[in-house]
Amino acid sequence: MSPPLFQRILQYLARHLDRGLIIGLIMLMATGLIVLTSASNGNYMRVLSQLLNMTVAFAVMWGFANIPPHYLMRLALPLFMIACGLLLGVAVAGDVVNGARRWLHLGVTRIQPSELMKIALPLMLAWYFNRHEASLNTRNYITAALILLFPVLLIARQPDLGTALLIMASGCYVIFLAGLSWRIIAGLAISGVASLPFLWSKMHDYQQQRILTLLDPSEDPLGSGYHTIQSTIAVGSGGILGKGWMNGTQTHLDFIPERTTDFIFAVFAEEFGLFGNLILITLFLFLIARALVITSEATTLFNRLLAGAITMTFFTYVFVNMGMVSGILPVVGVPLPLISYGGTSLVSICLGFGILMSIHSHKRLPNY
């Protein structure tokens, strides 16, 4: 008895998809839509538009799940070169928006090359380590460090310290997973701490301000401390069970800035309380755990490193966003993955998960 045709088509289409990841993604995205409805004051246009973003993101995910990882390997070097070229272009001829040079005009459209670098760098590093797998030595790690630092410094110069640090983190995960020796890690950690004062002096006023504000938000309650104070109030006043969906006063009275995007977690925490937060963290943990399992089962070094970088970067975004909203990290422009409104973030996250699925499903395929 063969299953009906329709079911077989579905099975064929879904053959590279991962059930665990799909379940986690859908649950988180559904949560996102619920929060977004409240955060946008019941603006269904915004919810529909996010639904559309999700559809696109799923399509992209499906596409990448069907691309065998070794094709991606071939893309790594050219993509990284293009991204570096664009970053240089920004440094030379970028548009200045809000005092930072982040955008590049390409005739018809404007792009932010640092977004592309978020994918290109881990891909590049994974490719590099995979290439020198047989004979990894210290020189390779130094080269990897240079590959990492070049775009990071360019982005930090824009200046966009938040993105630079996040991209650096993704690169560091790759290097760490590639087996950088503990002695060097310890040495780097010590010299990193030692160079903090120097870095501080190199920071822009607004960057220093953000960090100072984190230490004492009340110092500048109407300026840079405002975001932190208001979002912390939202989280704290949510209590154990929250104020209820659509009932967050901080949210609905416009006290939370950017409440559909970067600060959407404040809305969630206010309306669903500690209970909701624990559920949300559990959902994220579930997704991350599944991704880690896929990573640990990956067959080639390239696959492992790429999967690890994707998983860890995803976690980093989640942590940094929640940390920023609850006032333990400085305010950096990082959306909460899968929850925040916005197409770019959603598509790039799902693209990552598509790659993870591809890595997982293609290792079993006999023709690989």
Binding site: Q250, F255, G327
Partner: protein
Amino acid sequence: MPKQFINAGVEIRDAEQELQRFRYRLGILSIFILSLFCLLIIRFIYLQIFQKEHYTTLAESNRISVLPIAPHRGVIVDRNGIMLAHNYSAYTLEITPNKVEDLESTINALAAIVEITPRDRRRFKKLLGESKRFESLPIRNRLTDDEIARFAANRYRLPGVEAKARLFRQYPQGDMFSHVIGHIGRINTREIEQLSDDGRLANYRGSDYIGKAGLEQSYEQYLHGTTGVEEVEVDSGGRAVRTLSRSAPISGNNLTLHLDARLQEVAYNAFGDRRGALVAIDPATGGVLAFVSKPGFDPNLFVDNIDPQSWTELNTSINKPLLNRALAGTYPPGSTFKPFMALAGLFYGKRTPQQAISDPGYFMFGGHRFRDDKEGGHGAVNLFQSLVVSCDTYYYMLANDLGIDAIANFMTLFGFGSKTGIDLKGEASGILPSSEWKQRRFKQKWFPGETISVGIGQGYNSYTPLQLAVATATLANNGIAFKPHIVNHVENIQTKAKTVIEPSPTRDLQLKPEHLEAVKQAMIAVNKEGTGSRAFIDAPYSSAGKTGTAQVIAIKQDSKYIESQVAERHRDHALFIAYAPTEKPKIALAVIVENAGFGARAAAPIARLVLDYYLLGKLPKQPATDE
């Protein structure tokens, strides 16, 4: 194990070793992930369980804003209902400095749409210095409909600028009442402290203004009203989203005065260009009928903080328009003191009405010659004549006979030298000289020679026109003194209940009727045949008066005062006290005209105009003239 042996095996083992190492590192990262999530959870527990109360309070106060609703200030009307201080609604343009990027260019852009005078700009700058950046401050008041329309059309270009409907205080009578009604002004820091000390600050949360002078100041508690409260839910921009509860403000009480606005006008205009003061009192109640200090100033200038230039002009003017002459100006009473001296003589038994002295034209004391106005003297002078012709020698002698302390004791009864307790702030006490006073003031003993000129209202004597008017009213009222008061009654607009400020007799001087009669008859004669007769010629009512001339600079007793040779500001002050009708006095007054020379010539005609209007309803055709 030798390497070269099992090449392929090494490769496999290496791969497996690699995987094990990778998984080990991945395990470390998993612990890293878990610990960071734990950190987040600890933070959430801290915020959402332990700090919940704190943040809930913060969220509530974020959300609920208690907006004060300022009450309407009570109006002030005269005894006939003529409006002296009222409110009207008008649009004002206000700028919130911290919402504006470039204040100067915003004001310039605004000036292209509505008229903004240099005075407006100066006033705004002054306000800016005194206020917080997030307070909205008026740049231009009382916009016309046309201007409002033009502003509305250009609003989008001017963020931080708003048109607001506001109630404005207006004093329609202008400078005529500036020293009685006073004015309100924006509340300053000192007043906030004072209100806070009095526990009244909460009631001023929505108020921008407070009474600064005059009745506006002294009746502040009645006029202000009770601030209402509106509890609204606001968004982070402070915009009200919806009203949760509301308690309406209670308007301030209205004041109805004893003051007669038309009488005040007659009196004010009677001064012409002269400086001076006039206080008219109803002797039977102490109600103040007219209270003039000239020159006045436009109190409307002060309502929204006066601009520095106008302030400097008023403050440095030689005419001292800001000085409340009636209340705080002190002058020697001159001969207007004599009726009271005469009463003192009778009271202490030093004189009888008939007893006459011989006046050689001077009084010698301690080798010093105290000169009388009339050369060669008035001859035989009794009490009656001493007042009618204003004989100085009679009073030099009387003062000497009484002694300074007896004079002081008696004059205290009439209220000389002490505050009258009128319902205005800033009253001066004046100086009633006594040996005790001199000891206190100069640490010196009193010399009997100093008593002599006190008898004719010179020397250390110095009283306010108000004190003189109260003393005259007390005399007219047969020695029963009333506390002067301007407000007749306070009306609660809500309940329509009127609280009448009851006339309060302060004391009965227990003067003997025959003594009073002697002095009064003499004062009636002053206006009939004496120094006041020219001013009161053909008056259809009977009046009593006394002229006075007060020296501004001391002139040697041997030399003669020639008016034309003395600089205008050094000329004598002209004084006059009067009451009428004599049978049952309805009005008693005191007038002083600064540097105007003889009281008979400058001050008495003003009194005549005032009495004519008050008793006959006759309006004067022109100011009282010297000739």
